[in-house]
């Protein structure tokens, strides 16, 4: 038996090992996020009241906390379900105080985010809707008097809005909570044509 005849089975075995290793690696890389990713915002949103802001607990307060959340940022979550209608958000901004809004799916994907710098004349008016609801809303628009609100098409019917207000000093936490509470988040039926 020549050297090639002796080495060939071992090389084929090694090739088999590497092929299986490659397939396993790719499957594991694609499967890991689905297995491990439990979006902490989504977990809290599932127990929060829909179409209403619920303040998120502080880390270390005994409640489930949001890992890597900025301790200086007071946050609240407003879960929504667009099955019955759109979601309308309104915030009055002012005083150069940071207010953030991020719009997420229940899988943790952020499809839009903004801060109070995007406010028009001190007001933020946003409507989250599906593509069909946007068509219905546009059909009802007054062409001479266009709506000033920002309309966002959600990629999925269920999702959440995370609002954040920065407390610049530890003593300003209560004031930041009040700013968050002043942001309204409510379901809004879209009139049909």
């Amino acid at each position: 038996m020549s050297l090639v005849d002796r080495l060939l089975p071992a090389l084929l075995w090694l090739l088999g090992v590497l092929t299986v290793a490659g397939i396993t690696h790719l499957v594991a890389i694609f499967a890991l996020p689905k297995i491990l990713m439990k979006d902490p915002y989504a977990q809290i949103a599932m127990t929060a009241k829909p179409a209403e802001f619920t303040l998120l607990p502080l880390s270390g307060s005994g409640s489930p906390a949001i890992p890597f959340a900025d301790p200086a940022l007071v946050q609240a979550v407003c879960p929504y379900d667009l099955t019955q209608g759109a979601l309308r958000l309104h915030a009055d901004t002012g005083g150069d105080r940071l207010l953030t809004l991020s719009f997420r799916t229940m899988e943790g994907e952020v499809f839009y985010s903004m801060t109070d710098l995007a406010a028009q004349q001190g007001k933020m008016d946003i409507v989250v809707l599906t593509a069909a609801q946007l068509d219905a809303a546009e059909a009802n628009d007054d062409e001479d008097n266009p709506s000033p609100e920002l309309r966002l098409i959600a990629p999925q019917k269920k999702g959440m809005v995370i609002a954040g207000a920065l407390a610049l000093f530890p003593g300003e936490r209560g004031e930041a909570e009040e700013r968050i509470k002043s942001v309204s988040c409510m379901a809004e039926p879209i009139p049909q044509e």
């Binding site: 299986v20 396993t24 690696h25 890389i29 890597f68 200086a72 994907e109 952020v110 920065l166 000093f169």
Partner: protein, 208 residues
């Protein structure tokens, strides 16, 4: 069955069993190797979508659908996918500017430039992203409350023991990370052009 036909059949069975065992060991070794490589990548890697500047790493597309599978797996494994929760840009450092991992027995000084932003916060967290309990109940500083030198510069000291100026207490933790959040920063559009000179340095101080 005669003896002359039973022996070849036994040999064929043995050969088949040997071949099956070769397939099984190749499959088992392949699965183990594949899982080991995956573990090494998600444990040590930062992913293709990471933006690095000195000791600081950011994942600007962290919560977006166009993230590559490797970065998605790495962020899911480390729990850092939650970093995309706010509207700011977040940088994480788990070592000093010389590339050494943080040692909780040592002091660290954070000083230098912070990229232009409306507000920023610097926070000390556990590697799992939870604030570290300490007697001073201090977990970070905001750009508004930080004490600055007359020239406008600042220095934050991370230490187990009380330090003058901007002191971030380590508590009793043995491992920690630093998180820098920039809100309304001009960096958003040009994160790829970030250099170590635009970001604060992390210098190791005395140990023990």
């Amino acid at each position: 069955m005669s003896l002359s036909t039973a022996i070849p059949r036994r040999r064929a069975l043995r050969a088949g069993a040997a071949l099956l065992s070769k397939y099984l060991t190749a499959g088992g070794a392949g699965v183990l190797l594949g899982l080991a490589v995956t573990f090494a990548i998600v444990e040590r890697g930062k992913g293709f979508a990471a933006a690095e500047s000195g000791p600081w790493t950011s994942w600007p597309r962290g919560g977006t659908p166009d993230l590559d599978p490797y970065t998605r797996a790495i962020l899911a494994y480390s729990g850092k996918m939650a970093l995309s929760g706010s509207a700011g840009i977040t940088f994480v450092a788990s070592g000093d500017s010389w590339g050494a991992e943080f040692d909780s027995a040592c002091d660290y000084v954070i000083e230098g430039e912070i990229p232009s932003a409306r507000y920023w916060t610097l926070t000390l967290l556990s590697p799992e992203g939870i604030p570290i309990p300490n007697r001073a109940n201090r977990h970070g500083f905001t750009s508004s409350e930080i004490l600055r030198a007359s020239g406008g510069g600042f220095a934050v000291t991370v230490s187990r023991n009380a330090r003058p100026g901007n002191w971030l207490p380590l508590g009793r933790s043995s491992r920690f990370i630093l998180v820098l959040n920039l809100y309304d920063s001009e960096l958003g559009a040009s994160l790829s052009s970030l250099s170590a000179g635009n970001m604060p340095r992390i210098l190791k101080g005395r140990c023990g």
